[in-house]
């Protein structure tokens, strides 16, 4: 029930973010979701691409001297109505799991917004959410968005 995410290290965010997105765009990599974590001294770009593009994306990034890594995140469908998001976050937090970060997809699926969640404990989060009837998307479903 996990989805693959690519993280890229940025030494300084300004400029290098534009370079990275341009590099990927020039190579026809379709970014389905993207977020940036920004600190005083460095940044991390996190993005989702279709599974068939992951290997190519990593190759391009490495060729251009970037440090990047693929890891698993969870993708959740959030009903597009008030309190939809807070309900999901509450379930996770009540289970004593902390959330490292979240961000959302550019496009919706039907009436649902698609949210990416990186919890401290991935397997337990999946269990908690499915017990409570929250819909999660797998890689194949993500690839279609």
């Amino acid at each position: 029930m996990f989805v693959k995410q690519i993280s890229i290290y940025l030494e300084n965010v300004k400029g290098s973010l534009r370079e990275i997105t341009q590099l990927l765009g020039d190579n026809n990599i379709d970014l389905k979701a993207l977020s940036i974590a920004d600190t005083m001294s460095f940044g991390i770009v996190r993005c989702i691409v279709a599974e068939e593009q992951i290997e190519k994306t990593m190759e391009i990034l490495r060729e251009h001297g970037n440090i990047a890594k693929v890891n698993n995140v969870i993708c959740v469908c959030i009903p597009d109505k008030p309190s939809g998001l807070s309900k999901v976050l509450t379930l996770i937090e009540d289970a004593g799991i902390s959330i490292e970060y979240t961000y959302s997809f550019y496009k919706n699926t039907g009436d649902n917004a698609v949210l990416i969640i990186r919890p401290s404990e991935k397997r337990r989060t999946v269990a908690v959410l499915s017990e409570n009837g929250i819909q999660m998307l797998n890689q194949a479903e993500i690839d279609k968005i």
Binding site: S7, Y9, E11, I44, R46, I67, A68, R118
Partner: protein, 438 residues
């Protein structure tokens, strides 16, 4: 695995350390007297310091003596530092040096004997005895490697094959046909021999009889040791020496391979702070300094090697009580002083290796802000250090900073930079950028 340790001269190599100190004191007094009376440069330096030979009462008084530098050997080339008449000199050994005049050392019959004993001890330390066949592939000549190993092996009664360096095919043929059991050469040549042997399709386990190697004349690493031991299926032991002091055999590793035992009844090792020139206690890294106490041809008083290492005095499993010197981790020329603390790039490198498994490329940037020295360690990020969360990367940085603080004693700012973004220079990488206007 229980190791069998051969000790050539147990009386001296396993001596009670208090007794050793007494012997060293006596020999130091004699050496200082001999040198003061016969070497004008040394006498002048002693007089300038206001120190008389009679002031040297025990080995602890060694700190009163002036230092000798490599430049002294050049300036006094060739015979200015001899303490014996030229007629008593029976051998000249030397090193070519990279620039200008070579360095030579004159040996009396006694000095050749002392050196031979030190090499004999070293070879025995690697398990060599009378029944062994010793293949010497160090060069024979002015360089001390070939003749040194030759004399030491002969002293043990071993069978010596004086191959000298080069002609790898012939080396391997002789090794195979004569059944050499001990190999003496540089660690880089040992690696090359091992690779060639493997390339030829030979299996050292079946086709060769090698059991150990004594490798020196250049610095090497634990990784190289592992590689050589695997390639040749042997125990690889380190040996240290320098022509100015005697040649190889000044210090040697036993089969425990936990540092090189210094032949302290012939040379006194000291570790000093290269800036303050004060003697440092055991287990503190600093500059290695040697004083010969049995040589009569060209004795060396407090000779500064400019090599950085650490001395360990805890008793070795082999039974020897002689102090052990760790690997040479750098040169004093590489040292930087930050807020009064001596920092060696090699210390920082060891922290990075510990964090990362391998040494990432790094640069030290030193600056002075508001009259305080600052140290920034720029490290090229590797995929192992990286993760998708900010917290993890902060943790890596804090861990490195914490380790540097505890190992080096200086607070450093850690900057992780993209791979291949730091400058690389030909040959030795330039590790230090000092922006201070001193």
């Amino acid at each position: 695995m229980e190791k069998k340790h051969l000790i050539y001269n147990p009386e001296m190599e396993c001596i009670d350390r208090e007794k050793l100190k007494a012997i060293q004191g006596q020999r130091l007094r004699e050496t200082v007297k001999l040198t003061y009376e016969n070497v004008p440069l040394f006498r002048k330096r002693m007089d300038e310091k206001g120190v008389k030979p009679e002031d040297i009462k025990s080995v602890d008084d060694i700190v009163l003596l002036p230092f000798t530098e490599k430049t002294d050997l050049r300036d006094e080339f060739p015979f200015g530092l001899l303490a014996a008449p030229k007629s008593e000199i029976v051998r000249i050994q030397g090193s070519s040096g990279t620039t200008g005049k070579p360095i030579v050392s004159g040996y009396t019959e006694n000095d050749v004997e002392v050196w031979t004993e030190m090499v004999a001890r070293s070879l025995a330390g690697a398990g060599c005895g009378k029944d062994d066949i010793v293949q010497v592939c160090y060069g024979y000549g002015l360089f001390t490697g070939g003749l040194g190993a030759h004399q030491g092996a002969t002293r043990l009664g071993a069978m010596v094959i004086p191959m000298s360096s080069g002609n790898t095919q012939r080396q391997i043929m002789m090794m195979k046909e004569l059944g050499s059991t001990i190999l003496c050469c540089t660690p880089s040549y040992a690696t090359y021999l091992g690779e060639t042997i493997r390339d030829m399709g030979l299996d050292p386990k079946k086709d060769l009889k090698l059991k150990a190697g004594v490798f020196g004349a250049e610095p090497w690493t634990e990784e190289m040791r592992k590689r050589i031991e695997e390639l040749l299926d042997i125990d690889a032991c380190d040996i240290y020496g320098l022509t100015e002091i005697a040649g190889p055999g000044v210090a040697f590793e036993c089969l425990e391979k936990k540092g090189m035992h210094v032949n302290e009844d012939h040379v006194i090792p000291e570790i000093i702070d290269p800036v303050t020139e004060k003697q440092l206690p055991y287990e503190t890294p600093g500059e290695l300094v040697f004083t010969t106490i049995t040589k009569t041809g060209m004795p060396m008083i407090r000779y500064r090697t400019h090599d950085i290492c650490t001395l360990y005095v805890d008793k070795c499993e082999c039974g020897r009580t002689l102090v052990r010197m760790g690997r040479i981790t750098g040169r004093t020329d590489d040292m930087i002083v930050i807020r009064g603390v001596n920092v060696f790039p090699s210390q920082i490198e060891s922290v990075l290796v510990k964090t990362n498994g391998v040494a990432p490329h790094y640069v030290l940037v030193v600056d002075r802000v508001n009259s305080t020295d600052t140290l920034e360690v720029k490290v090229e990020l590797t995929e192992d250090m990286f993760s998708d969360t900010v917290a993890h990367i902060e943790e890596v940085k804090n861990y490195i900073a914490g380790e540097i603080k505890s190992v080096v004693g200086v607070q450093a700012k850690i900057s992780l930079v993209p791979p291949k973004s730091l400058p690389r220079s030909e040959g030795k990488a330039k590790r230090v950028i000092d922006n201070r206007k001193l």
